[in-house]
């Protein structure tokens, strides 16, 4: 049985732990127009104070330079995968996160970033030298074609409410709230 003093200390430790236990979040963009990133920055207008208490923005290139990819709880991935280089980066993200969520149309069905997949022979011939020069893959793929995707937020740009629902669900899954 803990003494009264020990009990107090324990409670304080739990409280401190709860306060410091935040969702380690990464936000990654591949080939796309980054519309969902912009929607995310707009959501900050109304949710920043609440999120800053429960989220550790570990990797978010649009807001900071010193980003860490390791030990993420959740990685939000926007955009389509158009090269082997991007595919490798995506695999690295997958290795370093517990949950990966595809964000927006390009990350879910590839479009419109994958529009070159539907080009006729004439257009394909026109862009052939650029595909070669910049080491792009023959076909544009979605993150789900390459790694396991745990959840999805639809929309072009992403639906704000769908994002909030998924984020809140994730916060509960990780016992943050």
């Amino acid at each position: 049985m803990p003494t009264a003093c020990n009990d107090k200390t324990l409670k304080r430790q739990i409280r401190l732990q709860t306060m410091t236990h935040k969702l380690a979040l990464g936000w990654f963009s591949f080939s796309c127009c980054e519309d969902s990133t912009i929607v995310f920055t707009e959501l900050l207008n109304d949710h920043f104070d609440e999120w800053s208490k429960v989220i550790d923005f570990q990797y978010i290139r649009i807001l900071k330079k010193n980003n860490k990819i390791h030990n993420l709880d959740v990685a939000f991935v926007e955009g389509a995968i158009v090269s082997e280089h991007d595919a490798m980066k995506l695999k690295e993200i997958r290795k370093n996160c517990k949950k990966l969520i595809a964000i927006g149309s390009c990350a879910i069905n590839g479009m419109p970033s994958a529009q070159r997949n539907t080009f006729d022979d004439g257009k394909k011939k026109e862009i052939e030298f650029l595909i070669e020069k910049f080491h792009l893959a023959e076909k544009v793929r979605t993150p789900g074609d390459i790694v396991k995707v745990d959840d999805r937020v639809m929309g072009c740009p992403m639906s704000e409410q769908a994002f909030l629902d998924v984020l809140n669900k994730t916060l509960k899954e990780f016992n943050i709230v």
């Binding site: 707009e42 920043f48 807001l63």
Partner: protein, 425 residues
């Protein structure tokens, strides 16, 4: 540092990705290669064969943050091709749409991207208690712009209401009036950041040309293209004054105007047309406006802040005075024709040339975005900056200064392509 090979990857707090190679030998910069390594999405090819009925929505997907600019410029190009003259109300809605875009987009840049450079911290997330109010100020200003866009254009990103011949919906007067307090609050909050940029000693001055669409109204939509060298060019002739420069190491091409490198964006607009600003802005931003014309690229931040004030003032005046009424979109017949749209996007002059067939299907489209036009100028600025700092700054300090300079331009790599990393060799 006589010789230096440095590699910086992933310039952050910009829209999109890019990289940079710099080689210094005998204290001279041998080359600066700014690479927009964002992977191409081939919009030029994709829009060919697409109907003008959906074109403005397709091109909105070129860029998330300036999507409204692409929509508006595309519509203007199609309307000019088909000789459609927007109604007075449509033109006012277009102006309000641009106001909402500029307020939100500029606020994102001057607060979330560049302001940490003024306070020498990595991120807005690292602001000390004395500066955290700026983060909340940014939210108030972005929210006001976002609300204005949503009411007038349907959404702040990929706006659904603007179309060829008019708007799908006309905003309700009550809805517009409801955002007056948001706009007034945003205006009040803005002054703090204007002071910070005004007092900031960062100096990236280098002599260069400035180019912008200049009109009486400073509405980002109409006017002639004017340069600081005194050139005046009609919108439809703009392309013939540009010289395309293939940048072999980048996934975008660069441009020169009349054979010279140049800068487009808020700094160019204020340098060339500060007299066109709203009267209330000219009154309340008088102190800051004395800085212009300026050749210091860091003043692009201050210029964007002044444009936010102008857009708020214009929006407030319009909401209070214009009587919006239901109005159907103009009908039109498709025909084989071509047209040019030129507008001022947040980051500078945006050009659309659209050539269509008799069924309204795009035969060819040519799109030139601001960041492509600034690319060569940015490289030259970086070279001058590096040579200036070589003897007094460490490699890491120089890298940081380069990033600040690039951020001051507010490049949009999604538009130009999509990827920025810096490698010194």
């Amino acid at each position: 540092m006589k010789d230096v090979d440095i590699s910086i990857q992933n310039i952050t707090k910009i829209e999109g990705h890019a990289s940079l190679d710099i080689q210094v030998r005998d204290n001279k910069v041998k080359h600066v290669q700014l690479m927009f390594t964002e992977n191409k999405r081939f919009f030029t090819q994709a829009i060919r064969g697409r109907s003008i009925d959906v074109l403005s929505q397709s091109v909105a997907r070129i860029c998330g943050t300036c999507s409204i600019a692409h929509t508006m410029c595309c519509i203007e190009g199609i309307e000019k091709a088909l000789n459609i003259i927007p109604s007075e109300q449509t033109q006012v809605l277009k102006q309000l749409t641009m106001d909402g875009l500029m307020i939100r987009d500029h606020a994102l840049h001057i607060y979330l991207f560049s302001l940490p450079d003024v306070f020498s911290v990595d991120s807005v997330l690292d602001f000390t208690p004395e500066h955290t109010h700026f983060l909340h100020d940014s939210f108030d200003i972005k929210r006001a712009g976002n609300k204005l866009s949503t009411i007038v254009a349907g959404r702040a990103v990929h706006a659904p209401f603007p179309g060829v011949g008019g708007y799908a919906q006309v905003p309700k007067k009550d809805d517009l009036k409801a955002i007056i307090p948001d706009l007034k609050l945003a205006r009040e909050k803005l002054v703090g950041v204007l002071d910070e940029y005004y007092n900031c000693p960062v100096d990236y001055t280098r002599s260069t040309d400035f180019v912008a669409l200049v009109g009486d109204k400073f509405d980002f939509l109409e006017g002639d293209i004017v340069s600081s060298d005194g050139d005046v060019v009609k919108e439809k002739d703009y392309f013939s004054h540009l010289e395309k420069n293939v940048v072999p190491y980048s996934q975008a091409v660069g441009y020169k105007f009349e054979g010279d490198t140049y800068m487009v964006g808020a700094l160019a607009r204020i340098n060339l047309n500060k007299k066109g600003l709203h009267k209330d802005t000219k009154r309340d931003a008088k102190k800051y406006l004395r800085v212009f014309p300026s050749k210091n690229i860091f003043h692009n931040n201050l210029a964007q802040g002044i444009e936010i004030m102008h857009c708020i003032d214009h929006a407030l005046e319009t909401i209070e005075s214009f009587d919006f009424k239901p109005e159907p979109k103009q009908t039109f017949e498709k025909k084989a024709c071509e047209g040019v749209g030129v507008i001022e996007a947040p980051r500078g002059t945006l050009y659309y040339h659209i050539d269509m067939d008799s069924n309204g299907m795009v035969k060819e489209g040519n799109i030139i975005v601001p960041t492509q036009q600034n690319q060569i100028n940015m490289e030259q600025d970086i070279a001058v900056l590096v040579e200036r700092l070589l003897k007094t700054h460490s490699k890491e300090q120089i890298k940081y200064e380069i990033e600040k300079l690039v951020r001051a331009y507010d490049p949009c790599i999604s538009c130009a392509t999509h990827f920025l990393e810096v490698n010194w060799t």
